[in-house]
Symmetry: C2
Subunit: 215 residues, 2 copies
DNA sequence: TCGCATCCTGACCGTATGGTCAATACGAAG
DNA sequence: CTTCGTATTGACCATACGGTCAGGATGCGA
């Protein structure tokens, strides 16, 4: 019986284990349901069923639907920001932007639900994460724009408006998550294979890097 | 249809005017509300208020919320397909893709709500327009892929996978509608000006056309 | 074993929403 | 004016949903 095994293995801190594990179950289910149905279309009952818990239990860990949604969006935002690291410490656009595209394509593949929730949140006017947009995202964006501008000044790439380059990077990479269903439909109804993901990533990288005159 | 009926239908233009005008009011309001709140978050009451009509009147013209939503999505899809014309009859990628980008950027600017509704529909697995994806969109896509392949064979552009080029075109252009709120936030909270829209269009065109080796 | 904090959950409640309907108003044709 | 199809609308209903709560179960330290 896995339950007792886990209990006997861990002496103390089981309480926090239970909490963490259930929060994980709920957040995973919520991410999927919010992505597939939207905030308004998602129901606590459906999330509960998908998490394998009674609905009242959700309200024990997350007081309201909004609170649960907020946590889902924040989680996504953090994952999204982590891809920033790929951008840093790069000698030039080929390494920096190349690594960034790869990181973001990887996120699109591994967290398609999260990407959709994020997209829907922004499309609806960012009612929950507007402050993040105005603080963290704005700061991040300006930092990267400065890096790109430096590369331009150093003659490592063509004089492109850094802002629109960033938008293009976000748009193209997230498209593979947000519009994954459409892509799948146009791929004979099959999800992209490992090889197709690699080809997609290479296509994006190649077109953009050549497009900014970095190749 | 009997002759007398057709004549009376034609002569009594006022009736069809009322119908058409109210349907227009409702569809415009619905597009906006669906875009801002999602299908699940939208309410018939809110759409009615925004259209300046009593709620029961909506159900007179559109039997159900789903029917109304379906019409909104279909309208968007048609606008979206119309941009296809820009692609046709072009001598090469510079004219064809250039015109396509301009047409799609124009749609993003003029129909931001529609673009969002479309995006949300696809993100949720295209429950309403799956058949369109499998028929019309698939046929359209294959046709343009063939055109792009011909340009490649004629040496007018680099050998890029046409599929991923199309995805990039869709992603980049629609991003300015779907993520318009984020872009506005990063633009000091101001909507893009005429000039900024022109710059955005030029950036997208330049990067992509150079990226595919057409410049 | 006991006491206490944490965790669990069935049953319940108020509200909001999509949809219905019957009564009414309107306007064109005869 | 009368007739008849179209358009309008307030009132109403059944349902589904988010959220509450009381009472019980569970596990841990002492």
């Amino acid at each position: 019986m896995p339950d007792t095994a886990r209990i006997s293995r861990i002496r103390s801190g089981r309480r926090t284990d239970i909490r963490r594990e259930n929060e994980r179950l709920i957040l995973d289910a919520a991410e999927k349901v919010f992505a597939e149905a939207g905030f308004g279309g998602a129901t606590m009952q459906l999330i509960a069923d998908m998490a394998g818990l009674p609905k009242a239990n959700l309200h024990y860990y997350f007081p309201t639907k909004e609170a649960l949604y907020r946590r889902v969006v924040q989680n996504i935002f953090e994952i999204w920001l982590d891809a920033a690291a790929s951008f840093d410490g790069a000698a030039g656009p080929v390494e920096g932007i190349g690594a960034y595209v790869e990181a973001k394509m990887d996120i699109s593949r591994r967290h398609p639900h999260g990407s959709k929730v994020w997209a829907a949140e922004v499309m609806h006017g960012a009612p929950v994460i507007q402050d993040y947009l105005e603080t963290t995202l704005r700061a991040w964006t300006e930092g990267r724009m400065a890096v790109i501008q430096r590369w331009i000044d150093e003659g490592k790439m063509a004089p492109i408006d850094p802002r629109h380059l960033l938008y293009m990077l976000w748009a193209t990479t997230q498209h593979y998550a947000d519009f994954g269903h459409q892509i799948e439909t146009l791929n004979a109804g099959q999800p992209l294979s490992d090889r197709q993901w690699r080809e997609a990533t290479e296509s994006v990288k190649t077109i953009i890097l050549r497009g900014i005159g970095a190749l």
